[in-house]
């Protein structure tokens, strides 16, 4: 696709005969805001409900808690048996190690694929692209058998070690796409200056790769923080539970009786995601667009 031809938006709009009248624009904004509100309302309502007293959750559509109480948070934090703080800690450890693993392993692999010549490159690259589409469920059982043989069940190793082995092909692909946009002249200049591949990688490529690293870090954090199936298979002792497991266990124990506390902990579990979303939305949007479009 050619992108070089760009017209001033307004000129085009006028020639096309779609000059926006103020009324039309206002209507459009009203509609977009309405849709946004409908979409976010459940979340806003849940936030409000987490501060409501007992039965109010079932009778109030308004998100504003009246009376306001923090009791749900106190009750939820105690959890069922194991405190919620433990789950948060476990999830944080798993998510941070996963981020480190993905950043190191996927960057190295991407650099090899994007910049180096070696035997078997075409085949390996095709394999990597194949892994992009491979359903995780095909590996669920054999990996479980493998990790069980290693004695890794009920530890976080099965959740973390694969990240250090670049199995999240999505990020390898994302970084390959990004690297293709960095001019190779930079590598060549470094080579002429006598830098080996590792020096070139650390001092030339890595600094330029920052946006892709940020995208990968944020996505990895969010995905591992949300992951439910894999931890559920490997972690059996509630003291090792991650946040989603803790939430689910709480739901199992309290059934439909303790929505206030459930909501409070759901809000707590979404907190870090919102944080990363607010800080890193630029990188998230970039990341999706980079992988979604040809580089």
């Amino acid at each position: 696709m050619t992108t070089d031809v760009k017209f001033d938006q307004r000129t085009v709009a006028m020639t096309v005969g779609m000059k926006r009248s103020p009324a039309r624009t206002t209507f459009k904004h009203a509609l977009l805001i309405a849709v946004g509100l409908v979409m976010l309302y459940p979340l806003i309502w849940m936030l409000g409900a987490s501060f409501k007293e007992g039965e109010d959750i079932f009778s109030e559509v308004s998100p504003i808690p009246n009376p306001f109480t923090l009791e749900n948070y106190a009750r939820g934090w105690e959890g069922a048996g194991v405190g919620f703080g433990t789950f948060i800690l476990n999830s944080t450890v798993v998510a941070l190690l996963s981020v480190i693993g993905n950043l190191v392993a996927c960057t190295l692999a991407a650099y090899a694929f994007a910049r180096m010549q070696f035997k078997g490159k075409t085949i390996f690259f095709a394999c990597m692209m194949g892994m992009l589409m491979l359903p995780h469920h095909v590996l669920l059982i054999p990996q479980y058998v493998l990790f069980a043989n290693f004695g890794w069940v009920n530890t976080i190793l099965p959740l973390v070690v694969p990240k250090f082995l670049a199995v999240d092909a999505f990020f390898v692909f994302l970084m390959v796409q990004f690297l293709r946009g960095i001019p190779t002249e930079l590598d060549q200049a470094a080579k002429i200056d006598g830098a080996g591949p590792w020096k070139t990688f650390f001092y030339v490529i890595l600094p330029l790769l920052k946006p892709a690293l940020a995208t990968s870090a944020i996505f990895t954090f969010i995905w591992t923080w949300n992951d439910f199936l894999t931890p559920m298979i490997y972690l059996q002792d509630p003291r090792n539970y991650t946040v989603p497991l803790g939430l689910n266990a709480f739901l199992d124990v309290s059934g439909d009786s303790a929505w206030g506390a459930m909501f409070a902990m759901a809000v707590v579990s979404l907190g870090p995601l919102f944080g990363f979303f607010l800080v890193g939305q630029k990188y998230l949007v970039q990341g999706i667009a980079t992988t979604g479009l040809k580089g």
């Binding site: 459009k28 109030e60 190295l108 095909v138 493998l146 390898v172």
Partner: protein, 332 residues
């Protein structure tokens, strides 16, 4: 790294340059030694890519390709992890299709889920992307708001929220009561339970929307101008410019979202309390696979299910690409 301490001093130069180098420095040292270090340098250059690729290579062979083949083998066995796998030939596959009505329920539920929720989600994504595209003020704010659900849609927290919202005393029924409509437990009714999960998936239209937005920006504006000169209206420009220009991205989103929808798990598990109920109406394929493999420890049987899922996803992807020649327009 050996390359950095190599005595030739320029280990990264191409072999041609290095030959010249060696010749020029010929008198300074014995030739034999030079050629050894030269060989080492070439070797180092050949090995370097594999050192970068090492983690990926281990990941690929040890925890991807190996397990995949092992799971193919397991799918032809009876295996509970307590005893060694016992070869049973095609028994698992035959039983799945002839003697397991619950499996067929799972297939039906998943197919309905994929075929209904993905087109709805993409249509919504495209519609909103087009509304946002034309230099609208506050675009990035709208984009963020619409994108947010995509990030958290697969979380247990949101599934918990859904379970309350669509329950008998939930938010939806409270709102319906304003209009005098008496609600029911939407998740407790086999007719509507899957619908609540479809809504959840459509709610996460933000990720494909962001991709559409990026693609819309690449459609050259002069095409619209030319169309206007020719007197083609809004619908015409959409039908004859936007849609063809966007078609590769539609295909990309379609494939990506279908693969994702086939593997949906968390919402169904949490909303149904792990059962896939009521009456198997939310028994997603992966949920049933989990039940067989990790609750019933029928690892061979579950492996057969996993391989069928894998083949179906591969097939659907291939069919998508094959059919794409009839509707995807590539601009070269």
């Amino acid at each position: 790294m050996t390359t950095l301490t190599d005595p030739t001093g320029a280990p990264e130069a191409s072999s041609e340059e290095r030959m010249g180098d060696a010749r020029a420095r010929g008198p300074q040292g014995p030739r034999a030694r030079k050629s050894t270090s030269l060989r080492r340098a070439i070797l180092a250059e050949k090995i370097a890519p594999y050192t970068f690729l090492l983690p990926w290579l281990i990941g690929f062979f040890v925890i991807t390709l190996g397990p995949m083949l092992y799971s193919l083998y397991l799918s032809f066995t009876d295996f509970s992890m307590l005893a060694p796998p016992e070869w049973v030939g095609f028994d698992n596959y035959i039983k799945l299709f002839t003697n397991d009505p619950k499996y067929l329920d799972a297939v039906r539920v998943t197919v309905v889920y994929v075929l209904v929720s993905v087109p709805l989600q993409l249509a919504f994504a495209l519609l909103v992307a087009m509304a946002l595209n034309r230099g609208l003020r506050g675009l990035s704010l709208y984009r963020s708001i619409y994108y947010l659900p995509s990030l958290i849609g697969a979380s247990v927290a949101v599934a918990v929220l859904w379970r309350q919202m669509f329950g008998s005393n939930g938010l939806i029924n409270q709102i319906l009561a304003w209009f005098g409509i008496e609600g029911m437990s939407w998740i407790g009714n086999p007719e509507t339970a899957l619908g609540t999960l479809v809504i959840l998936n459509v709610w996460t239209f933000g990720a494909p929307m962001v991709i559409f937005l990026a693609a819309l920006r690449q459609v050259p504006q002069y095409l619209y101008e030319a169309a206007a000169v020719d007197g083609i209206g809004r619908w015409g420009s959409f039908r004859h410019i936007t849609l063809p220009m966007l078609s590769p991205i539609v295909l990309f989103n379609l494939v990506l979202q279908m693969i994702g929808a086939f593997q949906a798990f968390t919402p169904a598990f949490v909303v149904s309390g792990g059962t896939g109920g009521p009456v198997n109406s939310t028994l997603f394929y992966t949920l049933y696979l989990y039940q067989r493999g990790f609750t019933g420890f029928q690892m061979g049987y579950a492996s057969a299910m996993a391989w069928i899922l894998f083949l179906v996803i591969a097939l659907v992807t291939a069919v998508n690409f094959w059919f794409s020649r009839y509707w995807v327009h590539y601009d070269d």
